[in-house]
């Protein structure tokens, strides 16, 4: 029987990235995937006629350009196109536009508040300062602050260096930023509800935090720190849907000699003499490998696919307590035409961007209260986008695909598990929210796919339906992600590694966890590193 150098469990984007870098280093690599399609949560699915849905992740900004280049993803067909701005609709019929051009953005903010328009200039500088600190760290392995090993000390020093270079003000502001709520942070700059509401959205997407929960300022950073072609904070589409990312990664992997086997559901990770040595599939097949890499979330990896006796009890406890409660839902909608949003000026380019319908932080916070009470938000925060305005490949000409990300949606209801009826009612809530601002929207609907955390867990295997494979709170970031002491992609079992979004630097179709894990694996195997370094910000 063939023994692979490495088996990667799960053909999500991190698994594929990890496998591609391992294969590029000359390893024989097999990726096993339970579904009959690859991509995990970065997929393009055709579920209705000729419409293509990015039915899980839907926009792209964090995918590291270093990896894009190192794996030659452009040659493998990946094309990322930025989209234009966006708008937040207000209950009074007005809107707040978000324009990429700073001058235009200032004028639009000034329409709501001169003070806030000027404050935005300082806000931009301060958040950018924080972005620059974290961006350098995305393609690095987090140091273990409790270890005095030279390697860790060096890595700690590297982590500390940019902070030490900061002037006094920035140093203290960084300390505060990382521990603050996005609500308190925005209150320090702005006085206008809609401006704060619009900016706060990035602080809660995908997260079971409200805008006034401490730590949510970091979540904002997580959504700001990406870039499209150097435009930091910009977001874009993968042409053809998010599946294009996975397809390009798969193509790169194959070009380096790697294999992918779909409909290969891993039942367990095989451990002999304390070392991982392969996987057993649910159909009974056993596959051997020198190294096993799991792109599954940590609960699935360690609690479902392993014998607990192979793991330290304390580790199992920590894994059990890793927070993976889902908080997001999604609607994918096929439209017969382009809906109108009468609040926007006719011909406004803002409709190409991300549209929001919550115009204050109090409404966002109340939406979060619903989640805490185990129900979906009755006044939900939506991140609505119509990709077909930018990417013509996703619907027939003249027709449109609308992606609606919904915050908040609980993993389980106060009445118990999700039911199909409840899911329909959830979808209704979302559609009504949109229809309040777009009278012709409902009449254009041809098909709706409604996804709650239940569907995310069932189809993609994300425990709790958490889109980041685990909450992005400070206690689960950096050296705490996923488990303190195991943040360097190695598990307690020799030859078993983690490469999913549950590891540093977390979720968001970044591919950095997969790449970082590959670098650690290659180092353990004493193979030349194929993973690139940060480009670095000047």
């Amino acid at each position: 029987m063939k023994t692979y150098d490495a088996i990667v469990i799960g053909a999500g984007h991190n698994g594929l990235t990890n496998a591609a870098f391992l294969a590029k280093a000359g390893l024989s690599v097999l990726v096993v995937e339970k579904n009959d399609y690859i991509g995990g949560a970065a997929v393009s699915r055709t579920l209705h006629d000729d419409w293509v849905y990015s039915n899980c992740s839907y926009v792209c900004s964090l995918l590291r350009p270093e990896l894009h280049r190192a794996l030659d993803l452009a040659r493998h067909g990946l094309q990322i196109t930025p989209y234009y701005g966006g708008a937040t609709f207000m209950e009074n019929g007005d809107y707040l536009g978000s324009y990429p051009d700073p001058d235009l953005a200032h004028r639009e903010y000034a329409r709501h508040s001169r003070h806030d328009a000027d404050a935005k200039l300082r806000y931009r500088a301060e958040t950018m300062r924080q972005c620059r600190l974290i961006r350098d760290f995305l393609l690095r392995t987090p140091p273990d602050p409790t270890s005095l090993k030279p390697r860790n000390l060096k890595s700690l020093a590297e982590l500390a260096a940019p902070f030490l270079a900061l002037d006094d003000t920035a140093l203290y502001d960084t300390w505060r930023f990382w521990s603050m709520s996005i609500g308190d942070y925005l209150d320090e700059f702005f006085e206008t509800d809609v401006i704060k509401g619009a900016l706060a959205g990035s602080g809660i997407i995908g997260t079971a935090l409200g805008p006034y929960s401490p730590g949510s300022a970091y979540v904002l950073l997580h959504h700001y720190m990406g870039d499209v072609d150097g435009s930091i904070g910009a977001w874009g589409f993968a042409r053809g849907g998010m599946g294009a990312v996975s397809d390009a990664l798969a193509s790169a992997l194959k070009s380096y000699g790697g294999d992918i086997r779909t409909e290969a559901d891993v039942d367990s990770i095989l451990v002999r003499n304390g070392k991982a040595c392969g996987v057993a599939l649910t159909d009974g097949t056993e596959l051997r490998a020198k190294v096993v890499v799991s792109n599954l979330d940590v609960k699935r990896t360690f609690l479902k696919c392993m014998d607990h006796r192979d793991l330290p009890d304390a580790f199992i406890q920590r894994v059990k307590h890793f927070r993976t409660r889902g908080s997001s839902g999604k609607l994918n909608i096929a439209l017969d035409g382009l809906p109108t949003f009468p609040a926007l000026p006719v011909g406004s380019p803002l409709i190409d961007g991300d549209l929001h319908f919550v115009d204050s932080m109090a409404r966002l916070e109340r939406a979060y209260d619903d989640w805490k009470n185990k129900t979906w938000s009755k006044d939900p925060y939506l991140d609505l986008i119509i990709p077909t305005l930018t990417d013509p490949t996703m619907a027939p000409p003249g027709k449109h695909y609308m992606s609606v990300f919904v915050q908040y949606c609980p993993p389980e209801l106060d009445t118990g598990p999700w039911t199909d009826d409840a899911r329909e009612a959830f979808g209704r809530t979302v559609i009504e929210q949109i229809a309040r601002y777009s009278p012709d929207f409902e009449s254009l609907i041809k098909h709706v796919e409604i996804r709650t955390p239940r569907e995310l867990e069932a189809e993609i295997g994300l425990t709790g339906g958490n889109i980041f494979q685990g909450e992005l709170t400070l206690d689960q970031l950096l050296f705490n992600r996923p488990v303190p002491g195991y943040a360097q992609y190695r598990s307690p079992v020799k030859n078993l590694y983690m490469c999913g979004s549950a590891t540093h630097p977390g979720g968001g179709v970044m591919a950095a966890p997969g790449a970082n894990a590959a670098r650690e694996i290659l180092s353990d195997l004493r193979r030349p590193n194929t993973v690139p370094e940060n480009f670095g910000d000047d």
């Binding site: 140093l171 929960s213 109090a362 002491g485």
Partner: protein, 516 residues
């Protein structure tokens, strides 16, 4: 008339008195100026109804180090208390009380019985690091001079002393939320709720809010056991004032300060409400940092950015006080009279506690507030007429200023909510009530002059902790303005009746004295 002094301390709260005593002991000529008729500030005992007295705000001591009690000779100055901490008894309708004890057998159901001592020990181990931090002034992150580097290195060593596992756990938990922590360790919802309440008491946090483990560790850094002095917390202030006077401090009441006077960029004295002025080498303020800098000093004497930082200190109080005069005792929980003498907690489970928190975010009060209750007359009968009793309650959550203000009808509605919650947990208490007094955060603000009516003079949270408490570039007690020292709970290490801030502030002044 201008009188020359070494030190003027504004405000005779406990930190002001501790600071004054320490400085006077070191030979400084010190006057303490108190706006009100009596000393103590929020650490006072009031007669809330004729013949009935109780602690006005804080009702327990958690954090007063015995070393301070000894050094200041508080016992000889009249402080009487049983230093053995009270138990905490979690009450819930229609179920047995849960007793949390540090030195006796706890009566927690099922697995939680053994989980509690282990959990408590684990938390106290971690809290030891917080105690290390509290015992010391915060180092500066910038301008790395020797003292700051030593302070930072000391913190690093103290952290390492926890050992690898605890250090990892500390670094994880310090930003984490108490809701998940308690769900990890306990099964019983009432047990979880009661411990969760310890984390959020006196804060603008719910149990799910990240940062609520920090506030738990802060409360528990000296063991977490509550102590109630005879005569209420006012007895602590009286003893502190007596100790200060014995050290030579001149404590002047009814001497409200209108302004801190600044000349050539330095605080040089104060103007009192009666227009008289006093000058001194050092001006120490026990008034909360925001009022000190923005109202007493005036923003114009400091830089714009710094003034903005003080302006933005988050200080929205959420804790209300309700004092009840009773003509008899309520039924003891489970008929056990001993339990009634303990610290009683009615918090429901963590979800109920979180739901109690939700309204305050929108400026509304909790329809079902969480309560911390004591019956101080059981150990201190002198607080009420013979046979009568006092019930002292801290209730959360109450907004600082609801929309439309604290109208009579809103106060009544909130008082009803407190009484209903209380009566469900201690059946029969309501029919004994002969008088009551409700103090909402707005009252605390106006009565004690504390921004937001916030116990800690500013929210206790990671972004307002250590290096950045009360603000960045103002954390070392003497940093905001030459000649001015901040000694209130708004400075590091924050509130509880501990005297830490007063001690550190005094030490900062004395250190300067030896350096120059």
């Amino acid at each position: 008339m201008t009188e020359r002094l070494d030190v003027i301390v504004i405000g005779a709260g406990h930190n002001g008195l501790v600071c004054a005593e320490r400085l006077a002991r070191a030979g400084r000529k010190v006057v303490v100026l108190e706006r009100r008729e009596q000393v103590g500030g929020m650490t006072e005992t009031i007669e809330f109804a004729p013949g009935y007295r109780a602690s006005a705000c804080a009702q327990f001591l958690y954090d007063l180090p015995m070393s301070t009690v000894d050094e200041l000779g508080l016992v000889s100055h009249g402080l009487t208390m049983d230093p053995r901490p009270l138990d905490t008894v979690a009450l819930a309708p229609d179920t047995e009380p849960r007793v949390f004890s540090s030195n006796r057998t706890s009566t927690l159901p099922g697995m939680d019985a053994s989980a509690w001592p282990a959990f408590r020990k684990h938390m106290l181990d971690l809290a030891g690091f917080i105690e290390h931090i509290k015992q010391r002034p915060p180092p500066k992150l910038h301008q790395r001079d020797r003292a700051d580097l030593l302070g930072l290195a000391g913190m690093g060593l103290a952290l390492r002393r926890l050992g690898t596992d605890d250090m990892r756990e500390f670094l994880r938990l310090i930003t984490s939320n108490v809701y998940d922590l308690l769900c990890e360790h306990f099964e019983d919802p009432v047990v979880r709720g009661a411990i969760g309440f310890d984390a959020v008491l006196g804060t603008h946090l719910g149990p799910r809010s990240p940062g609520s483990v920090l506030t738990l560790l802060h409360r528990w850094s000296r063991g977490g056991g509550p102590v109630q002095p005879i005569g209420g917390l006012g007895a602590v202030s009286s003893a502190l004032a007596a100790s200060a006077r014995a050290a030579g401090v001149h404590v002047r009441t009814e001497s409200g300060v209108r302004n801190i006077n600044v000349h050539a960029g330095r605080a040089i004295g104060v103007t009192l409400n009666d227009g008289s002025t006093l000058e001194a080498q050092d001006i120490v303020s026990n008034v909360d940092p925001r009022r000190t800098l923005l109202d007493l000093v005036g923003a114009r004497h400091i830089d714009i950015g710094l003034a903005r930082r003080f302006h933005r200190i988050r200080a929205k109080g959420t804790a209300a006080r309700m004092l009840l005069a009773l003509d008899g005792l309520p039924e003891a929980p489970s008929g056990n009279d001993r339990l009634l003498r303990q610290r009683l907690v009615v918090a429901g489970d963590l979800d109920e506690l979180e739901r109690a928190y939700n309204p305050v975010k929108y400026g509304e009060f909790s329809p079902k507030p969480a309560l911390e209750i004591s019956v101080p007359t059981l150990s201190d009968p002198a607080l009420a007429p013979a046979g009568h009793h006092v019930v002292s309650i801290t209730a959360q959550y109450a907004p600082l200023r609801p929309e439309g203000g604290w109208t009579t009808s809103r106060r009544d509605a909130f008082a009803d909510a407190i009484r209903n919650t209380l009566d469900a947990a201690l059946p029969g208490v309501a029919r004994h009530i002969v008088a009551e007094d409700l103090l909402v955060p707005d009252d605390l603000e106006s009565r004690y002059g504390i921004t937001g009516g916030h116990w800690h003079h500013g929210e206790l949270a990671l972004d307002q902790f250590l290096f950045t408490r009360p603000v960045a570039f103002g954390a070392q007690y003497r940093q905001a303005l030459a000649g001015l020292t901040l000694c209130s709970a708004g400075a590091h290490p924050g509130g509880h009746v501990s005297g830490h801030a007063g001690r550190h502030a005094a030490a900062a002044i004395l250190r300067r004295g030896t350096e120059s």
